[in-house]
């Protein structure tokens, strides 16, 4: 069941000769965890902005094609561009890269309440929804803290909880860990993984950190100059190291190990039927190495 369908999407920023996205077609299934990656300027953020409505609601430019939001109305799908940004909040939760610029309230619980207040939720229900959103992000203990006293990783989890309180079916996150330290990054990604597994929320995330996300996601999409260069489950995508090299995206170390073992003649070619699956984590790489010894 699709949740977002992108059809022939082309977008150009004003005063830019080449389009930032060119003829992109992509179907995102409900409940999928999908990672959009690519070199800087490949169009990751632009694609996400088209999905969460920042394009065309905030960002001017030339937009062709459509991003369909499925089952948004009883009658079926609607183009994201036709739903106003505040209306869209009920379907798609948006988290941005800057932890500071997206927190509006002095106190954490007020931050979570902000979206509920905006969408006219009955105040009697708010306490429960705030508590649930905080618990789902593992930050119940921060409820009464001042937002200015939080670390970057805590702020990003507050930002996720704040959009989660509106019960969206889809979360769109634009490099949410780019300003975080390794601990903060790990905490944020763990929350996303659990939201996806336990609540079936569709996760669409733009990230450079492929190594960390590969074991968590269902599908990797590699962009090159506004076009989809490669997509599929991580183990499939990692079969093509030359594409990663060409795009300047680092292939995760466990996958590089598998390719090195093939080159050394220790493993059969990875696309042959008797080849082992490409390891995604250090643990999988260790198991594979031990089997060979």
């Amino acid at each position: 069941m699709p949740s977002i369908t992108i059809e022939n999407l082309t977008f150009s920023y004003p005063d830019c000769s080449s389009p930032a996205l060119y003829e992109v077609n992509l179907t995102i299934e409900a409940g999928e965890f999908i990672v959009i990656t690519g070199a800087t300027g490949a169009g990751k953020s632009t694609l996400l902005r088209c999905i969460n409505g920042v394009i065309p609601h905030f960002q001017p430019g030339t937009l062709q094609g459509n991003v369909w939001l499925d089952r948004a109305t009883p009658s079926g799908r609607v183009p994201v561009a036709r739903v106003s940004a505040p209306q869209l909040a009920r379907f798609i939760g948006s988290v941005f890269d800057d932890p500071e610029g997206q927190i509006v309230s002095p106190i954490v619980e007020e931050e979570i309440a902000f979206g509920l207040e905006n969408t006219g939720v009955d105040p009697a229900q708010m306490d429960d929804r705030i508590a649930k959103a905080l618990a789902d992000c593992g930050i119940s203990h921060l409820r009464h803290r001042a937002t200015s006293s939080l670390s970057g990783g805590q702020k990003q989890r507050v930002a996720i909880a704040a959009v989660l309180a509106l019960a969206p079916k889809i979360l769109v996150l634009d490099e949410p860990t780019s300003e975080l330290d390794p601990d903060g990054t790990e905490a944020v990604l763990k929350v996303l993984f659990e939201l996806n597994k336990n609540h079936g929320i569709t996760i669409i995330i733009a990230e450079q950190k492929v190594t960390l996300l590969a074991p968590l996601c269902d599908r990797l999409v590699l962009l090159e100059k506004g076009r989809i260069a490669l997509q599929g489950p991580p183990r499939k995508v990692f079969m093509h190291p030359y594409i990663f090299a060409k795009l300047g995206v680092e292939l995760p170390a466990p996958a590089r190990l598998a390719h090195a073992l093939v080159q050394a003649g220790v493993l059969p070619p990875l696309d042959s039927p008797d080849a082992p699956p490409i390891p995604l984590t250090v643990e999988e790489a260790f198991t594979l190495s031990r089997q060979l010894l």
């Binding site: 940004a85 909040a89 997206q102 002095p106 969408t119 006219g120 105040p123 705030i130």
Partner: protein, 257 residues
């Protein structure tokens, strides 16, 4: 002089009063102090404010602010004493300038003026230290029909003060690391050295404002039918306090005219 005008959460009975009650309190004290012209009633009013500060457990902050105010009050009184023309002349420091002579009424007027200033500032300090800004703003929206957008502007501005200070510190350090000297000589030179700090700060803030607008609208800001998470209703105690305050103002008016 460092005056704390921050909310100090102590959970006292004064803190538990509704923001509107405390706002009316500050305004009532202001009105009454304007109606009183003798130093003694003003002094009594001032001491009762200190009593309320003790009840609210914010005495320490209020007293340190009062200490700073004393200097201002002294100069204010001195100014009035010298320039108040009416009443019996007690002495004239410069005989050729009769306008500067000190009169008995001038002394009383000067002292009253200084006390009045102390009373008004103290009453608003009491209001600010015992009431969270958010409660004040929300009660303005709810009871005085201030549009929410303006109230929101104020709450968000409060939220950004720490962020702003942190950025000032970071930019300052970054510029100093590039050998920029912030401690330039005269006032004009000082002003000039501020530019490398102010310019990046303004740029960052503008960029952040744009992002924040995006973050707000993608969370439903601007939809009709907004609700409020915590609305505080004035209780029976609040009504009683407000009635008492209004009667006190009425009594002061009757006594004066």
């Amino acid at each position: 002089m460092s005056v704390s005008i921050e909310y100090i959460p102590t959970g006292s009975p004064v803190h538990r009063l509704h923001a509107l009650t405390k706002l009316i309190f500050a305004l009532a004290v202001l009105t009454i102090s304007m109606l009183l012209s003798q130093p003694l009633p003003l002094l009594l009013l001032f001491f009762s404010l200190l009593g309320i500060a003790a009840l609210a457990s914010v005495s320490q902050e209020i007293l340190s602010a009062v200490k700073g105010l004393l200097k201002v009050a002294f100069f204010l009184a001195l100014l009035q004493v010298f320039f108040y023309p009416e009443g019996t002349v007690l002495f004239a420091p410069i005989p050729s300038l009769p306008g500067l002579s000190v009169t008995d009424q001038g002394i009383i007027f000067g002292i009253s003026m200084a006390l009045r200033m102390m009373v008004i500032v103290t009453s608003f300090l009491l209001f600010l230290t015992t009431t969270p800004a958010r409660s004040t703003v929300l009660s303005l929206v709810e009871y005085l029909k201030v549009p929410y957008d303006y109230a929101f502007l104020f709450i968000t501005a409060l939220r950004f003060i720490p962020t702003f200070l942190e950025e000032v510190r970071l930019i300052g350090q970054a510029q100093e690391a590039r050998a920029h000297d912030f401690s330039g000589g005269g006032p004009l030179a000082r002003l000039k050295t501020i530019f490398p700090l102010a310019l990046p700060l303004v740029m960052i803030s503008l960029q952040r404002a744009e992002r924040m607008a995006m973050a707000m609208e993608t969370r439903g800001f601007g939809l009709p039918g907004r609700t409020y998470y915590r609305t505080e209703k004035p209780g029976a105690v609040d009504i009683m306090v407000i009635v008492a305050l209004l009667s006190a103002v009425a009594a002061a008016v009757l006594l004066r005219f």
